[in-house]
């Protein structure tokens, strides 16, 4: 629906995307998942560092063993208290698999680990809307949620209230979504920001060159925008 609204650059709607979930036709790809788990077992970090091939432990710098595995490619921080943080995986299932593998490695090192309180703490997704976005306009119309300081950072930081997600929006049309605990949050956030981005896309203007200067009525595209859903959960 929204994808067709654009007059110039039409985002190809992929035939295999579920348009009920992704009306924009774009599915943000997960880039990183951070999960924590409690192994409920005090760990001797030095012992772990020595007995695992894939571990590094530099107590002077950081009080945790950094362990990596290749499949699923991930990194874990293992703390003395038995808590573990697993990062770098690309999906929830992978995060879980990876965490369990780490737990298994520790089990093999004869610690009586359990696998409790597994929780996804953060998910980062990204996608490309494939049209340039005028960040200044977005910043001034969504002032409440936006922070755009080109002196400090080239992207616009959009703090969405519902779902509570932070989006980094770049002029090139790339969008990074972070702070999600659920995949659905990322999808939902993207779907609610997408129409807003459409408003400030390149060429999507009342007086865009393809629209004759003397056209009395606003182009139909504006009508479309009139029905934009509210973003940010302010209703």
């Amino acid at each position: 629906m929204a994808a067709e609204a654009g007059s110039s650059a039409v985002v190809p709607v992929e035939p295999d995307v579920d348009l009920t979930v992704h009306p924009s036709g774009i599915v943000p790809q997960l880039q990183n998942v951070v999960a924590t788990v409690n192994l409920e077992c005090k760990l001797d970090l030095k012992n772990i560092a020595l007995h695992a091939r894939n571990a590094e432990y530099n107590p002077k710098r950081f009080a945790a063993v950094i362990m990596r595995i290749r499949e699923p490619k991930s990194t874990a921080l293992i703390f003395h208290s038995g808590k573990m943080v697993c990062t770098g995986t690309k999906s929830e299932a992978e995060a879980r698999t990876a965490s369990r593998k780490y737990a298994k490695i520790l089990q093999k090192l004869s610690y009586s680990v359990s696998f409790k309180e597994f929780k996804i703490q953060n998910m980062v997704g990204s996608c490309d809307v494939k049209f340039p976005i005028r960040l200044e306009g977005l910043a001034s119309t969504h002032a409440m949620f936006c922070s755009y300081e080109p002196e400090l950072f080239p992207g616009l930081i959009y703090r969405m209230a519902d779902p509570k997600i932070v989006l980094l929006i770049f002029v090139s049309g790339k969008v990074v979504l972070t702070g999600a605990k659920k995949r659905e949050d990322i999808y939902r956030a993207f779907e609610s920001i997408y129409p807003v981005l459409q408003t400030f896309r390149k060429g999507g203007m009342i007086s865009a060159p393809e629209v004759p200067a003397a056209l009395p009525a606003p182009p139909p595209q504006q009508q479309q925008q009139a029905a934009l859903p509210m973003v940010g959960g302010l209703q």
Partner: protein
């Protein structure tokens, strides 16, 4: 005449100017008593001296007593610390204002200071540098008044990182709730800075022309989307550089860079970006003309344009405050004025050139496709045989799955020709997988990398379904059933891929990771899933899929919702064993690790020892208290921090020592602990020591003076160098001592422990004195022996450190730490004996040392 409430009539009032009240002449009630005057008045006191009447009220609103002036001195004029803090901020702001040349000066300082006061009040200055907070306040004011100053100018004059300052600025804006203020929501227009930069580049009379051209260039850059997401200084720099050259000023990039504060490379990049827009093709005249033309066109278009319908809901969040006040909506949730401003400041959303970053991405995409396309095809042709072989392997694998015990029961449900049917289905599945692979690659070509995985997965599913339908016609009822099952599973898998938290996550995740892992991974997984579907006709599909997926090398995670303890037993051992080191490796690694972390280990050991000591002391103290309670004597802990106190002493090194006896000693200690300033006149310093301590050396156990030693070798000229050399020597000695100390640590601790247990008992019983004497005596004797010979400074320092230079030990009680450790049960301030156990290991060692 004034109305008096009590007399209920208009009455005459008696006004007492001196005391500032007025009263009714009838009833005598005071009607008003807060009369004040802003005039400065003086009154004479009894001695005939003139004094100011009243109080001085400063612009901060705080009244403070003005001091009487006695003999020209003002006293009682002290501001409180809060006021001082405010004043400090003001000074910083004023300093910045002067440095940057912000105009108008006073107003800027005033308004920035107002912000600063709020920041101070809210505790924002705590933990931040005053000058950074001041700069943030001033920058806020500059933003508010559209003054052409960038954050980087502030960071330049403060010599701090611009991002550090930026963080302070953003936090302050948040604290003052200015982030939502429309003033700050609107990004700064880069053209604001053009005049300031042009002014600094010395264009003389044609400054305005250059600036105007630069402004047009900036506008053109805005239209071509170069400016969004870029630092204003880069944009301005590029525009000014080009404008300067248009007007015949030879300014190098370096000149511009030094004015706008941006990297040379960044500026060249901006120039390059501009050069790739269509505007760069014009000559200077054409460009001006074109700019004018665009201006008129724009105006005409805007006049003709009708206001758009207002978007729903955008109103509350809009940065346009006019809309909220009822102004008519024009476009993009802005009123006409705001929209025009947006257009001007950002270039609107016209179709200019694409932003460079956008173009880069598209180019990258095209390159990626170009790279991937032919390669994939080649691979396909070459690897056709390999695929067949792989297919056969997979088929064999799947066959073996059916023979597994847990699956055999399912096989029983199949018709007699189940195996054949299954084999047929497998064949189909393999073909499907191959087809899917081809499709996957085709899909890659079509869509680019980002969505490839998903697309391939979905296509695979579709293809498989088609193939299955074809096969349904050819194969018998058994295979039909199997195919249906397969289809179901595929659908399940598809659904799970979309929402892996769904109930059937096990099956989906089994496919997920392997597909994610690499390109070929998708094939075995899909085939395996298909195989899993072909085998069972009834329940237990998940188990089958799990087994099949495991065959394909994928990891099957436990179901998401789990109740019992997770034994992790389903993870393959081989996988894990790969990550475990063998004995030789461990040994090797341990050696390396121990070597690399030796200092940490030592520190850790020391920490542990200290903790143990502290615990012991606490226990002793508790015991002492108990004993005191039992004896009915009041227990006194003594001075210093309580035993369990976690507060560290910053000057632990110094405070371990007893107070210095002489100024010279104190000075030397200070030299030990402080960095030496370049501003110190070392020859004078050396002279100081020579006069004071040099002569007495060795006489009564005074340490040999540093300066004396320095003077021995060198004459007047080289004093400074001599001192440095001596210091260096001392430091080397200190290091040596440190090393020796560490070596002795364990032994000392051991000795101390036994001593402490003795002492602990003894002190309660009044034996502490003896121990103290003993120790003190030991220290003294060492000094005695050492006093004659030419000691190295540090060696004598060692004696000093012990604090036992004063024989007997009672003298050392001046140190609070020492006393704090003593048992108060006896009420006797005994010698330093208790200290050994009480003090940190460091001190302990020193005692043992002596």
């Amino acid at each position: 005449m004034v109305y008096c409430n009590y007399c209920t009539e208009e009455v005459d009032v008696e006004v007492d100017d001196a005391n500032g009240f007025s009263c009714c002449v009838q009833c005598g009630r005071v009607l008003e008593e807060t009369a004040f005057s802003a005039d400065v008045t003086f009154a004479k006191d009894a001695g005939g001296e003139s004094t100011v009447v009243g109080q001085f009220v400063s612009d901060t609103g705080v009244a403070r007593g003005i001091g009487r002036i006695h003999g020209g001195r003002v006293y009682a004029y002290q501001a409180d610390s809060h006021e001082k803090a405010q004043q400090r901020g003001r000074q910083e702001i004023a300093h910045l204002v002067d440095q940057l040349g912000v105009r108008p000066r006073e107003e800027s300082v005033e308004s920035a200071h107002r912000l600063y006061k709020i920041a101070l009040q809210r505790g924002f200055t705590r933990g931040r540098r005053t000058n950074q907070v001041a700069a943030a306040c001033l920058y806020l004011v500059c933003r508010q008044d559209s003054k052409p100053f960038l954050l980087i100018d502030f960071s330049d004059s403060l010599q701090v990182n611009v991002f550090t300052l930026g963080a302070v600025f953003l936090q302050l804006a948040k604290l003052l709730r200015l982030t939502e203020h429309p003033m700050f929501a609107k990004p700064v227009d880069p053209s604001l800075y053009i005049h300031r930069f042009a002014d600094r580049l010395d264009f003389g009379r044609s400054m305005h022309e250059v600036a105007n051209t630069a402004l047009r260039l900036v506008a053109s850059m805005k239209r071509d989307w170069i400016q969004t997401g870029r630092r204003p200084s880069g944009i301005c720099g590029a525009a000014i550089y080009i404008a300067a050259h248009i007007h015949g000023f030879e300014r190098s990039i370096r000149d511009v860079v030094s004015v706008v504060h941006i990297g040379e490379h960044t500026l060249s990049k901006r120039l390059y970006e501009f050069s790739s827009t269509s505007a760069s093709l014009y000559t200077a005249e054409e460009f001006e003309e074109h700019a004018k033309q665009i201006d008129t066109e724009e105006t005409a278009r805007l006049e003709a344009a009708q206001p758009a319908a207002q978007p729903v809901g955008l109103l509350e969040s809009s940065g346009c405050e006019h809309l909220r006040m009822g102004e008519a909506h024009f476009a993009h949730a802005m009123c006409r004025a705001c929209y025009l401003e947006f257009l001007k400041s950002s270039g609107g959303v016209y179709n200019g050139a694409n932003p460079p970053a956008y173009d880069r991405n598209r180019k990258k995409e095209v390159q990626m496709l170009a790279l991937e396309g032919p390669e994939a095809e080649e691979e396909e042709e070459e690897g056709a045989d390999a695929f067949d072989r792989e297919e056969q392997d997979i088929t064999a694998e799947m066959r073996s799955v059916f023979h597994q015990r847990e699956l055999r029961q399912f096989a029983a449900f199949l018709p007699s020709s189940a195996e054949e049917a299954a084999a047929e289905a497998e064949g189909a599945a393999a073909a499907v997988a191959r087809q899917a692979r081809r499709d996957k690659e085709a899909a890659q070509e079509a869509r680019g990398k980002g969505r490839k995985r998903k697309a391939a997965e979905q296509q695979q599913q579709q293809q498989q379904q088609q193939q299955q339908q074809q096969q349904q016609g050819a194969a018998g009822p058994a295979s039909q059933e199997a195919a249906q099952q397969q289809q179901q599973q595929q659908q399940q898998a598809g659904a799970c891929a979309a929402s892996p938290t769904a109930a059937a996550a096990a099956a989906a995740a089994g496919i997920g990771p392997s597909q994610l892992s690499d390109q070929t991974g998708g094939e075995p997984a899909a085939a395996a899933a298909a195989g899993g579907g072909a085998a069972p006709a009834g329940e237990g599909t998940a188990a089958a899929a799990a087994a099949a997926a495991a065959m394909a090398g994928a990891i099957v995670p436990m179901p998401v919702e789990q109740d019992g303890p997770d034994s992790l037993s389903d993870i393959e051992e081989d996988d894990i064993l790969m990550y475990l080191a063998d004995e030789a490796e461990v040994k090797c690694k341990e050696e390396i690790w121990n070597m690399m972390n030796r200092d940490w280990l030592e520190k850790q050991a020391a920490k542990k020892a200290a903790q143990e000591a502290a615990e012991r002391i606490a226990a002793e103290n508790a015991a002492a208290q108990e004993a005191a309670d039992a004896a009915g004597v009041q227990y006194k802990r003594g001075r210093g921090r309580p035993a369990g106190s976690r507060t560290r002493n910053h000057r632990a090194g110094i405070n371990d020592l007893p107070p210095a006896e002489t100024a010279q000693e104190a000075a030397m200690r200070m030299l030990d602990h402080r960095k030496l300033s370049s501003k110190i006149n070392y020859s004078a310093l050396a002279g100081l020591f020579a006069e004071d301590g040099g002569g007495e050396e060795g006489g009564d156990g005074e340490p040999p003076s540093l300066a004396a030693e320095a003077l021995e070798g060198e004459e007047d000229d080289g004093r400074g160098a001599a001192v440095t050399a001596a210091l260096r020597e001392r430091r080397a000695a200190a290091e040596e001592e440190e090393r020796a100390r560490e070596a002795r640590q364990a032994a000392a601790l051991e000795a101390e422990r036994s001593k402490a247990t003795k002492g602990g008992k003894g002190r309660v019983g009044g034996l502490g004195l003896a121990v103290g004497r003993k120790l003190g005596g030991a220290g003294g004797s060492k000094l005695g022996s050492s006093s004659g010979g030419p000691l190295s400074p540090r060696a004598s320092g060692g004696g000093l450190l012990v604090g036992s230079r004063r024989p007997g030990g009672l003298g050392s009680l001046r140190d609070g730490n020492f006393r704090s450790q003593l048992s108060g049960a006896t009420g006797v301030t005994t010698g330093g004996g208790g200290t050994g156990a009480a003090a940190s290991t460091k001190k302990t060692v020193r005692f043992a040392d002596s």
